[in-house]
């Protein structure tokens, strides 16, 4: 393939998937398993499940910029999702609270772009603060644990500062914005919410794709492979790690913004350990070494949850088993299996899954260079 064609092919593929996605949902026209049709627990209607998947796909992609591409695991990325979501909710609803002696008051406004700008500013500031604090001082498991601790700070604020955040109940009845050039009630329709989400997520995916294929992105891969060597080549490695952290927080921030408009309500779950963990699972399921892996993972996770939760209330156990099997047998995830199939054919790909030796030699990050532009 000649250089320059692949990014457009890849993005076209993503766009096509966004069009088809609602149709393959349970109850959709192209439902893959109509017999296993289950109900979607949050909303009725398959289109809402598709919207959920896209929002989490964006969340997971941003997270994986840090995990899969830079090689640093955050256990607290839901804090950025929650910050984006709460910022949007509070911007829309307004607030009137006292932080100690300081009277914070805002009447609320309905401009979606301004809400996004505010959300991203809040997310970026908090992410930058954390990154500057932890990047020079930690890596590996300590890094992960500190991100978890900071996520708990956000969680406890959303949970306990009831005057601002609504506490355990969160904030309900958030109006969806009016989009410029469209009828006032356009976003009241579930299909329209899906279209709006798909367009935003597509643009964000394109931006992320661009970043990962830039020189900046290649340095992140170098840092993942060998921080030490990158330093001796003259790269200010810690600066890259800070920038990677902030960038990877912004995408979950956008996802949180979408989530608030989609749900029209928000509660502390958004910033919980549960959500932070889910995004790790989605990424690993789909394949952290591939660009699209986390999106595939988000699809499989939610589709599986939706179908299995209709059959048994023990659905988290079922998902846990699937997750464990993947980590043990196919650490490069679903995208890694696809890559093996393309490269080696069915027989060898299967052998790599079932052979202990191949497994030990496989690596979660091994597919990364495959999506690089022009290589």
């Amino acid at each position: 393939m000649t250089p320059g064609t692949r990014p457009w092919v890849a993005l076209l593929g993503v766009g096509a998937a966004f069009v088809v996605l609602p149709l393959v949902m349970p109850g959709g026209t192209l439902d893959l398993y109509p017999f296993a049709g289950a109900r979607f627990p949050v909303h009725a209607g398959f289109i809402d499940l598709a919207t959920t998947i896209l929002i989490f796909a964006l969340f997971a992609l941003g997270f994986n910029l840090l995990f899969g591409h830079t090689g640093e695991l955050s256990f607290g990325h839901a804090m950025f999702f929650a910050l984006g979501a709460y910022s949007t909710a509070l911007y829309t609803r307004g607030f009137d609270v006292y932080a100690g002696p300081v009277h914070l008051v805002f009447a609320g406004a309905s401009n979606a772009a301004a809400a996004l700008a505010v959300s991203l500013a809040v997310v970026a500031l908090w992410a930058f603060f954390i990154a500057r604090l932890i990047v020079p001082r930690s890596s590996g498991i300590y890094y992960s644990m500190i991100t978890l601790a900071f996520a708990q700070v956000i969680y406890s604020i959303t949970f306990h500062w009831g005057d601002l955040t609504g506490g355990e109940d969160g904030i309900q009845g958030i109006d969806r914005p009016r989009l410029p050039g469209l009828p006032p009630n356009w976003l009241q329709d579930a299909t329209h919410v899906y279209i709006f989400t798909a367009v935003v997520v597509f643009v964000a995916v394109a931006v992320l794709f661009w970043i990962l294929n830039s020189k900046f992105g290649s340095v992140l891969h170098a840092i993942r492979e060998n921080k030490h060597r990158a330093r001796f080549l003259g790269y200010d490695v810690d600066k890259y790690r800070v920038n990677a952290f902030v960038l990877s927080a912004l995408f979950p921030g956008v996802a949180g913004w979408l989530w608030t408009y989609f749900q029209q309500s928000i509660n502390p779950d958004a910033g919980s350990i549960d959500y932070s963990g889910r995004v790790v699972m989605m990424s690993l399921l789909g394949g952290i070494g591939s660009f699209t892996g986390p999106m595939i993972g988000a699809f499989v996770y939610w589709d599986l949850q939706n179908r299995v939760s209709g059959l048994t209330k023990y659905w988290p156990a079922a998902i846990g088993v699937v997750f464990a099997l993947f980590v043990i047998a196919a650490p490069s995830g679903i995208a890694g299996i696809f890559a093996d199939l393309r490269r080696y054919g069915v027989a060898t790909a299967l052998r790599r899954i079932f052979s202990r030796e191949a497994r030990y030699h496989s690596d979660v990050a091994e597919e990364l260079p495959a999506h690089r532009i022009g290589d």
């Binding site: 970043i211 830039s214 020189k215 330093r231 080549l233 003259g234």
Partner: protein
């Protein structure tokens, strides 16, 4: 700042590891240009000295000057930007990336910090041509697409040198570039070192005494963390203190 006559100058440089003085009060000047070898018995402090020059860790005391700059407390990436490149004794490459990507990362390091860093990797003609040039120099053009970790030992050692060449540094610190190479690989690599030495200063730590004698401009002999002798290969060969240090003598 007027160009200094020396590449490196150290003043009372010492590094202690839990009481053991690996480098002990070394004051010396390494002139610009030529191949400057550092030899000595195991434990003489060669690699520690290298690590101090490249910024791997700070000295316990003393000062390091590089071409007129006091670099004693600069982190490694700042030293690399000043024009100090270093290769490692234990191969230190980006294993999961392609050979081409390895070298290109080294070449593009010179552009670090510019806004163009966020632009896609296509349309980087000058980077690509420089990358291709280095791949040719180190003899790895034919395996450019291979994953670096799959190269033979000798090819990995040459890639190691290619990474150092990326920024086109003024001074190269090569730490045992010939370790574990076959005679044929050694010959090719020595030829490569002589070629890249033109117009540069090379600091070389190497155990292959024949090679050191053949290609060095001057040799510095370290023993127990101190300078035992400095001189041309002939002078070092004739030096009795050096003969004693090496027990069997230098043939």
């Amino acid at each position: 700042m007027e160009p200094a006559e020396y590449a490196f100058r150290t003043e009372h440089l010492s590094r202690t590891f839990s009481g053991f003085k690996a480098v002990n009060d070394v004051s010396l000047e390494i002139p610009r240009g030529g191949v400057r070898a550092i030899i000595g018995p195991n434990g003489a402090g060669k690699t520690t000295f290298f690590n101090l020059l490249s910024g791997h860790f700070p000295p316990s005391s003393g000062t390091i000057w590089f071409a007129g700059h006091d670099i004693t407390s600069l982190p490694p990436y700042r030293r690399a930007r000043l024009g100090i490149g270093r290769s490692f004794q234990i191969t230190n490459i980006f294993g999961k990336l392609s050979v081409h990507e390895n070298v290109r990362l080294a070449v593009q390091a010179a552009l670090d910090g510019r806004a163009s860093f966020f632009f896609p990797n296509r349309k980087m003609g000058h980077l690509e041509s420089r990358t291709a040039e280095i791949l040719g120099d180190i003899g790895l053009s034919t395996v450019a697409a291979a994953r670096a970790e799959n190269l033979s030992h000798g090819d990995q050692r040459r890639l190691e040198i290619g990474l150092v060449l990326g920024r086109d540094p003024e001074v190269l610190l090569l730490d045992e570039p010939l370790a574990g190479m076959s005679p044929a690989e050694t010959e090719a690599t020595v030829e490569l070192i002589e070629r890249i030495a033109r117009g540069r200063t090379i600091l070389l730590v190497e155990h292959d005494i024949d090679v050191v004698m053949a290609i060095s401009t001057t040799i510095t002999v370290l023993q127990l963390g101190q300078v035992l002798a400095i001189g041309t290969p002939q002078e070092i060969r004739a030096n009795e203190a050096v003969q004693r240090a090496y027990l069997g003598g230098l043939a």
